[in-house]
Symmetry: C3
Subunit: 154 residues, 3 copies
């Protein structure tokens, strides 16, 4: 429970396990790779944020939503794996930012997810490949949607 202790030491706790919002699973384990479905970060006890970057959502709110998406993904991972210490490597993130067509600071928003993963798992396990992309819209008008690939230890 090293990872969860680190989470708590950062003053964070895992939110309720997110539910699928369609006929899909929130995660699928394939060999030693865990594929996590696209997830938003609006449900972490704080005020949910909706809307677009470049319009009603600031970079700070977007950063915080990306951070919240990671907390939701960690909660899903804990439900699937039992223990977050089984994570060997955060392999890849695909971050979609709901934004206007003239907004081009997606990396700063996505850093909310990346920074938290490195804080929690450290550089060796937590540093990952990533793409950050502008989306003209996202489900339920969430500002950020993140999917993730994780490798487990043996």
């Amino acid at each position: 429970m090293i990872i969860e202790k680190r989470l708590n030491a950062l003053g964070l706790s895992l939110p309720e396990v997110p539910k699928s919002v369609g006929s899909y699973a929130t995660a699928v384990l394939s060999g030693d790779m865990l594929y996590l479905s696209g997830t938003g970060g609006v449900d972490n006890g704080e005020m949910p944020v909706y809307g677009k970057l470049g319009k009603e959502v600031t970079i700070e709110m977007g950063y915080s939503s990306a951070r919240g998406a990671v907390l939701n993904l960690l909660s899903t991972m804990k439900a699937v794996l039992g223990d977050l210490d089984r994570v060997e490597k955060i392999v890849k993130l695909l971050c979609f930012v709901n934004c206007t067509s003239d907004f081009n600071r997606q990396p700063e928003v996505a850093n909310g997810a990346s920074d938290l993963l490195i804080e929690i798992f450290g550089e060796e396990k937590g540093l990952h490949a990533r793409s950050a992309i502008g989306a003209c819209s996202l489900p339920f008008n969430i500002p950020v949607e993140i999917e993730m690939i994780v490798r487990l230890g043996v």
Copy 2:
């Protein structure tokens, strides 16, 4: 041929094997993982649908296009694998929905793909991770583009 018999029992048949629309392959097999290129669902014998959700394409038409995309993906899989019974798990879908900037019901559209995969492969093999994303535009103005990762049995 269990999977194809199930397809036929559902009144469905595999469309013509889709062709690549650029200098790429419609699928690449890597170890036991099959990576399928982004594919639309406009060519299944019915009237092709073009356009955007939130504008000229209804949720029902989008749902049906997502279903058609899965039929095209299955046809590609059959061409590559010989037999769809080799599928062990539908691992992950990435669904892009061509839509206006105020459309946020992407999951309902993507369910057209997910529902059909579960009907055909059952929950154990067919239930998958998924992301559904709004795209401001898609190739040829198709309403839905889906890429898929599949694991094969040994």
Copy 3:
């Protein structure tokens, strides 16, 4: 150094190794799979191109940017792998094209990446799965962002 010799024979050279533009790695190796972060192609010694397809960026400029993105990805790969000859298969590309909502020729733009990969690696190793998607905006207003999955030989 067969692959680099082929690059040079084509009159091409690897650009400076691209830097991460956020708190992520430009590539992560997981087993025999290399996951490369989304990368643009504006920095290859030529005039950088910014903007959207369907607006100020022509298909030719987009094609050239996609080609430049591959050169950047190859430069990252060389930095990680030491030798590009270790590549066994280009498995998959995900190509985002920064464009207007009525632009639907993403595949022609993405061909800039695919054509170059096949020129360099040949059909057997270079032919890949691919999705080409319209994005309403991309980081720094680059016209094309490409992420890639590559399998290494043993």
